[in-house]
């Protein structure tokens, strides 16, 4: 088990390298001189030349990359030119809102989607099933920003039930924290919920047809236990995969929703940094997101072992 985790962590290194190369190149082929953008239109050519020198932009690209990636491997992601602080610090300051939003969207999605998926499977073909699946199709196809705007107009402006924008950290009280996140979480999580509901339904249907379900019925197990004990745990394996693999998408989608709801998260950090050509921040943030993506998948894979004994033993 420990060996397995270690191997998975080591596999982070090539991933990191590839992501680093790609972000680095992307940044350097983006048109526009960062020094000129940072200093604004009134800057003189001399000032721009000086800043280029300070930022190391005059050195060959490979040399710039080696010095940056060398720092990354030692845990130094560089400093933000604009915010005058280490990238790591800027990242973690903005991580809280994004994580809160993503986790809340995920929880909302799971809590709503799994029961609906189960019901749809259990009553397959019924009016209920068709309604749920119709709604889920809608959930998949509506872009989150559109849903976000709609929610702002309806729930925030018309009904005035919830605040329409902004963010309150957890220190301001749990309810305050949650209150500001409900609408964005719905906007962000609806697609996730739709995906999970559909996966739950199809996975439940597969398992309900399995021979061991017939065995359980032949023993006299109650229908509710057939669903809860014998079907759900088996059906959960593919559901977990969907949840894990789309959590990254959720974090990415958070960037858009953060903008709509004016939440100071990673999305805003990256978008602002792109506008400011704050290279170090963009590169560092993307790398950190890639790392968390890999780590989340590792956690998910470890969870499989908890649910499915076949996986557990295979790794001894």
């Amino acid at each position: 088990m420990k060996g397995y985790i270690l191997r998975r962590l080591l596999s982070l290194i090539p991933v990191l390298f590839v992501v680093a190369v790609v972000v680095f190149l992307l940044m350097h082929i983006t048109p526009g001189d960062p020094a000129a953008v940072i200093l604004g239109p009134e800057a003189s050519p001399d000032e721009i030349a000086e800043l280029r020198e300070n930022l190391g932009l005059n050195r060959p690209v490979t040399e710039q990359f080696v010095s940056w990636f060398g720092g990354v491997l030692q845990g130094d992601l560089g400093n933000s030119i604009f915010m005058k602080q280490p990238v790591l610090q800027a990242f973690f300051e903005h991580l809280g809102p994004t994580l809160s939003l993503a986790i809340m969207a995920q929880i909302l999605a799971i809590v709503v989607a799994i029961p609906l998926g189960i019901l749809a499977a259990k009553f397959r073909g019924s009016f209920l099933d068709q309604t749920f699946m119709g709604i889920s199709l809608l959930g998949i196809s509506i872009p989150s920003f559109l849903l976000g705007l709609f929610l702002i107009l309806l729930v925030g402006v018309e009904l005035k039930w919830l605040p329409v924008a902004g963010y309150k950290p957890l220190n301001d009280g749990l309810w305050n924290h949650i209150k500001y996140l409900i609408l964005p979480a719905i906007a962000l999580g609806s697609m996730q919920a739709a995906l999970i509901a559909r996966m739950t339904r199809s996975s439940m249907l597969d398992v309900l047809n399995a021979n061991y379900i017939k065995t359980a019925r032949s023993k006299g197990v109650k229908e509710s236990f057939i669903v809860i004990k014998h079907t759900l745990r088996n059906a959960f394996i593919p559901i977990l995969t969907i949840i894990g693999h789309t959590f990254g998408t959720l974090v990415a989608g958070a960037a858009v929703v953060e903008t709509v709801f004016n939440i100071p998260g990673i999305g805003q950090l990256i978008i602002n940094s792109v506008e400011r050509r704050d290279f170090a921040v963009i590169q560092g943030s993307v790398l950190l997101i890639a790392v968390s993506y890999v780590l989340i998948n590792l956690v998910i894979d470890l969870l499989y072992g908890v649910i499915d004994p076949r996986v557990r033993l295979g790794r001894k």
């Binding site: 021979n211 061991y212 017939k214 359980a216 019925r217 006299g220 229908e223 745990r233 076949r310 033993l313």
Partner: protein, 343 residues
């Protein structure tokens, strides 16, 4: 109460499919007495599993319609409420299935799955049930049952899993055991071990048993009575001795001729029944076996034969069985003694 345990009476099972209604079991009747082992035989697709699963009402009833009666100790299972059905399943009637590899839930230990059945039907504490589960595993000849009870299905071989299924099925001492091709998916050597086990346990528990198989060798080994099915109908019913010594229906004769002899020459040419079982939407108008029968006449092709009684305990569904018997049966190879057959 008589010693009649189960009586299936004019059972019809219809499925509503996308292409309309099909009748997979059409007017099947047979009975099982206490302690008796009845073989249900026929090629694949003849409706054996549908018949068996109807007895426990395991078919998806959204798409299934039953007609007729299935009396268990004089009460009609087809009229049972759901709660009565739950009490019946696993307690009075148990079932074991063809494929032990997929019949156990992969995410629970075998002990957990046996304990579940015990707790459902018997007044035991969890601890007592766990002890009983170990006892049941020991009874089915599983080595180191105290250890095996905590293992997951994937840690056991196919034969061991079938023993677990048997342990689970018998844990509540059912009065009737339905075994749907319990050895078909297993290696030949394991097959006979499992058959011996079922035979021993059925005597020990004095259960009625329905042994479903497409293998007449299995019938010869464990059954007292045989019901031969073809395309959803019973076409012959008799004691094991009569079936092997003087099969009446051409289909039964064909099945018997296609079993290899133990003492026969190695390269002995085996008889095969020509053709295939038709699908349920192409059921022949007259005798259902007519397209594959070497004795078929115009009468056979247009008129449905009934299941008629013959001598005192036999039944057969064929217009011409008497003449066929006089002619010496299928391909003139009548068998006069009960042959030893390979299992």
């Amino acid at each position: 109460m008589s010693d009649l345990l189960l009586e299936v009476k004019n059972l019809k099972v219809h499925f509503d499919t996308e292409n309309g209604r099909v009748t997979a079991v059409d007017d099947v009747s047979f009975s099982v007495k206490q302690g008796e082992t009845v073989g249900v035989v026929g090629e694949s697709g003849c409706g054996k599993s549908v018949t068996a699963e109807s007895i426990l009402r395991l078919l998806d009833e959204k798409h299934t319609n039953y007609e007729g009666n299935i009396f268990f100790q004089e009460k009609d299972i087809l009229r049972f409420r759901y709660s009565e059905l739950q009490k019946l399943r696993g307690n009075d009637i148990s079932m074991i299935f063809q494929d032990p590899m997929s019949s156990l839930n992969p995410v629970y230990t075998v002990g957990n799955q046996i304990v579940e059945a015990l707790l459902l039907h018997q007044n035991l504490t969890k601890k007592e049930a766990e002890e009983k589960a170990v006892d049941m595993l020991r009874l089915t000849g599983i080595p180191l049952p105290e250890k095996r009870v905590n293992e997951y299905p994937h840690e056991l071989s196919g034969g061991m899993r079938q023993r677990v299924m048997i342990a689970m099925a018998l844990s509540c001492k059912p009065k009737l055991l339905i075994a749907d091709e319990p050895t078909t998916a297993l290696d030949v050597t394991i097959q006979s071990q499992i058959l011996d086990l079922i035979k021993d346990l059925k005597d020990e528990f004095n259960m009625g048993t329905i042994m479903i198989t497409h293998d007449l060798g299995v019938v010869a080994e464990v059954c007292t009575k045989v019901v031969v099915m073809y395309l959803g109908q019973v076409i012959e019913e008799a004691s094991v001795e009569s079936i092997f010594s003087s099969p009446l229906h051409p289909y039964t004769q064909g099945l018997l001729k296609s079993i290899p002899h133990i003492e026969g020459p190695r390269d002995e040419k085996l008889y095969v029944i020509e053709g295939k079982v038709p699908t349920l939407n192409q059921i022949p108008a007259g005798c259902r076996f007519a397209p594959r029968c070497e004795f078929a006449t115009d009468l056979c092709r247009t008129e449905k034969p009934q299941l008629d009684s013959y001598e005192n305990d036999r039944k057969v569904r064929c217009w011409h069985f008497k003449e066929i018997q006089e002619k010496g049966g299928v391909m003139n190879g009548n068998r006069n003694e009960s042959d030893k057959v390979r299992s």
